[in-house]
Subunit: 229 residues, 2 copies
Amino acid sequence: MKNAVVLLSGGLDSTTTLAIATDQGYRVHALTFQYGQRHAHEIEAAKRIAKRYEVSQHHVFPISLDRFGGSALTTDDIDVPTLRSDEEIGTGIPVTYVPARNTVFLSIALAWAEVLHAQDIFIGVNALDYSGYPDCRPEFIKAFETTANLATKAGVEHHAPFRIHTPLIDLTKGEIIRRGLSLGVDYGVTITCYAPSEDGRACGQCDACNLRIKGFTENNIADPAPYNT
Amino acid sequence: MKNAVVLLSGGLDSTTTLAIATDQGYRVHALTFQYGQRHAHEIEAAKRIAKRYEVSQHHVFPISLDRFGGSALTTDDIDVPTLRSDEEIGTGIPVTYVPARNTVFLSIALAWAEVLHAQDIFIGVNALDYSGYPDCRPEFIKAFETTANLATKAGVEHHAPFRIHTPLIDLTKGEIIRRGLSLGVDYGVTITCYAPSEDGRACGQCDACNLRIKGFTENNIADPAPYNT
């Protein structure tokens, strides 16, 4: 069995990605970031999911990106936008963008992967039904992979061994859910919402909820996760 | 005045880099990492240097790379090598290599730079008198710069604004010191040693000390920093 580092936020995309890596036979080392996000519900979800998949190791890694601010997800000073249309979501980069987040996350994943002698890093980015974040695009992932192989001892000594896997990058949200369901993912334990209630119920109104609801609607099934409405 | 983020470890190279950025007229935002390194002396040195240069802001950012281990600098389980010849230092990647360190550091610098609307990041890497670390080479820096401009909102909206400055990359250690002295750097407050004594005196035997001593010898002057011998 080969080791892989899988980025696990506790959301729908990263959980599907974990299920795919497991299905492909990898021994999974799950990595969740406590980066100063608004709520701890997604970290609790990640812990439940890691346990359910019996991953080899699960690190909850603190990285205080909220020190810098600059995003609605890391400061209460900027409101999370709600009730935006699909067209609005598809235009521009919203205030929920966290500066350099995936670069930071992949860098730390790379550090762990190198220590584990793992060559494979999985990240559930998606460039179709997404919020326009630049660090979810294939060109970013490709550039990071090139950087990773130049940055590391393993990259120099074993000639470009690192691969960044993005199994969801070309899928719609509906297709992601279909793939996950075929692998037995229980979406009831995942949390996608940017601004859930204190008891962890999704708002149903933020961009992340909008895209998720659209995905379940495409599959003509009800989302098993709890909503606040 | 333009803002710049300057990586400041408290060592000779990063202090010279800070002096160069200041001399070039940048408003400096200094960034020091508490990454689980063996000793806190370099963080104290960084604080003194940031204060002396009256930087605009100084973040000491915790990032626990020691959780992963894999380097003599982040775990006591691996000894720091001593008394290696110039030839030995020039061959291979030593156990003091910290997996993906500069990728992680530059990623976090990028996050801060984007929030500050700064386009310039300074790092004191050096590819001549160095320890063979892959993430000090120009090809790595170039790849990271490309990644940074694809990863960010600023990169997308302002067409590749980020520049990673490496003013020392082609200099020998002797040339770096000469440059710093011409800018008035007080090397007495910097600390380079991987394994100083408890009172902060350099060992004079590790690779970092070896390269530093060589640099001062090339300039025919005494190193003003305290040694343990």
